[in-house]
């Protein structure tokens, strides 16, 4: 049963990876990377059941968390072009 889930997740990951490589706009990549992260979390959880040691869910939990932070960092970067407090910078440009 978990094997089915693992295979399904694998197939999904490969498909999403293609989108990640292809783009074409950055938000496509961000979206693909984000969903890839979710699949990774699920895959690790499934793998825990598959190998009979389901007590490694901490890793999955950590992934879910880090992935979110990563996505937010990317978006902050795109919105304001910096990680710090510099919303005025983009106004300066023009």
């Amino acid at each position: 049963m978990f094997l089915v889930a693992a295979i399904a997740l694998f197939v999904s990951m490969i498909l999403v990876l293609v989108r990640l490589y292809a783009g074409p706009i950055v938000y496509d990549r961000v979206l693909a990377a984000n969903i890839f992260g979710t699949f990774t979390v699920l895959f690790i959880a499934v793998l825990g059941f598959l190998t009979g040691r389901p007590d490694f869910l901490d890793i999955a939990l950590l992934y879910a968390l880090i992935n979110f932070v990563g996505t937010i960092a990317v978006l902050k970067f795109f919105r304001y072009r910096a990680l710090g407090d510099v919303p005025q910078i983009e106004r300066v440009k023009k």
């Binding site: 950590l62 968390l65 960092a73 910096a82 990680l83 710090g84 919303p87 910078i89």
Partner: protein
């Protein structure tokens, strides 16, 4: 990100959970994967997330850079201090068994908790300090780079 209401609400909710998770990783490292380093990174990530959404000044208000610098040094000193304590007790450096000579593994437990705490403190401090250093720098982009 002044107008991101959803992000701000969710972040407030999450930061607490992340810090809680960091403590879990720190103190549950004996039983499951994790330990001081990972906990330190997670703790730092909580502050980085806060900084990303609410701005650098806000997070530096919560966690001023000078405290971060002290913490960085404190963690290393805590770790080395445990070792020096072992030496003062007449054993080798980092021989935690000396902390409870009659029951070696208890001493080991105590030692591991303290040194993991040292690792966690330093890593938290360093990661936050690095984030401050990068985020606190005004970008100098030419127009053609965008």
């Amino acid at each position: 990100m002044q107008h991101h209401l959803i992000l701000r609400v969710i972040t407030k909710l999450l930061v607490g959970m992340i810090i809680l998770f960091a403590f879990y990783v720190q103190f549950h490292g004996d039983f499951s994967p994790g330990g001081g380093f990972q906990a330190g990174v997670i703790m730092a990530v909580a502050f980085i997330l806060y900084g990303l959404v609410f701005g650098l000044e806000k997070v530096q208000g919560v966690f001023p850079p000078w405290i971060v610098h002290k913490l960085v040094a404190l963690g290393v000193l805590l770790y080395a201090g445990v070792g020096v304590l072992n030496m003062l007790l007449g054993y080798e450096f980092l021989h935690y068994g000396s902390l409870d000579p009659h029951h070696m593994s208890h001493g080991q437990h105590t030692g591991i908790i303290w040194i993991e705490a040292g690792v966690g403190i330093t890593v938290t401090g360093v990661m936050i300090a690095i984030y401050y250093a990068f985020a606190g720098r005004p970008p100098r982009l030419g127009d053609d780079d965008w």
